[in-house]
């Protein structure tokens, strides 16, 4: 079983079939193409997207449906081809779709709903599907921290 260095979990062994591949990398990280999704029982529903090329690079992601249950995926033809979908996924049965989490200057946690990572498990291919509309923000605030304050 191959092993790799990770940002959050030290050195781990992994199953090659779990690896997802971005044929063109991710915007800003075009050289990083192979990622290993990792979960930690105590951090659910977080998915750690660990780069296999760059051990220090690990995106933190959340399933978009956990952030916005009404989220409607929209992919362009190039992105559909990149993951091997022959047509746009049925909104009633969306593929795995994760939003990358970031922290803004005010320490507010945000999620990128403008460009979710979409995975086709059948091919093992993934793409960061940048929407061409502006319905969703790339810095959608995750409400919990503010609400905790508001509720106390």
């Amino acid at each position: 079983m191959p092993s790799c260095e990770t940002r959050y979990f030290g050195s781990i062994s992994f199953d090659e079939t779990a690896v997802i591949a971005f044929s063109n990398g991710l915007p800003g990280f075009v050289q990083c193409r192979r990622f290993l999704p990792l979960e930690d029982a105590s951090r659910r529903p977080l998915i750690f997207l660990q780069s296999l090329e760059e051990s220090r690079l690990c995106f933190l992601t959340l399933p978009v449906g956990m952030i916005d249950p009404a989220y409607r995926l929209k992919m362009n033809a190039d992105d559909l081809a990149a993951v091997g979908f022959d047509r746009h996924p049925d909104p009633a049965d969306p593929p795995e779709c994760w939003a990358i989490v970031a922290v803004d200057e005010d320490h507010v946690l945000t999620a990128n709903l403008l460009a979710p990572v979409v995975i086709n498990r059948a091919t093992g291919m993934a793409v960061q599907a940048v929407r061409d509309d502006s319905i969703y923000s790339c810095r959608h605030p995750l409400p919990a921290a503010a609400e905790v304050l508001a509720c106390s």
Binding site: Y8, L26, P27, G28, F29, R43, R44, P45, L46, L57, F59, L60, L62, M66, I67, D68, P69, I100, V101, A102, V103, D104, H107, L109, N112, L114, A115, Q128, V130, R131, D132, C138, R139, L142, P143, A144, A145, E147, V148, A150, C151
Partner: protein
Amino acid sequence: MLVIRRRAGQCILIAGDIEIEVLETSSARVKLGIRAPKEVEVLRKEVGLIAGANQSAARDISLELLSPVLARLVDTGPSKRQC
């Protein structure tokens, strides 16, 4: 902003070696062809924006800061969250 009117098949030239050709037009879209030296990066603007967002997401994020967010998502689900 410089505004130039072009038809399908016509080009504009930037800095002598970047050529942008209007390939097709329709009521809602324009298809462009771009010829540029290899070292010139050409991106859809929204992809450029996402590159910046990814760079910032790749920086350190405290898992402790995230914990209350995760707890909320798991306990109540986003649709049921309330005070």
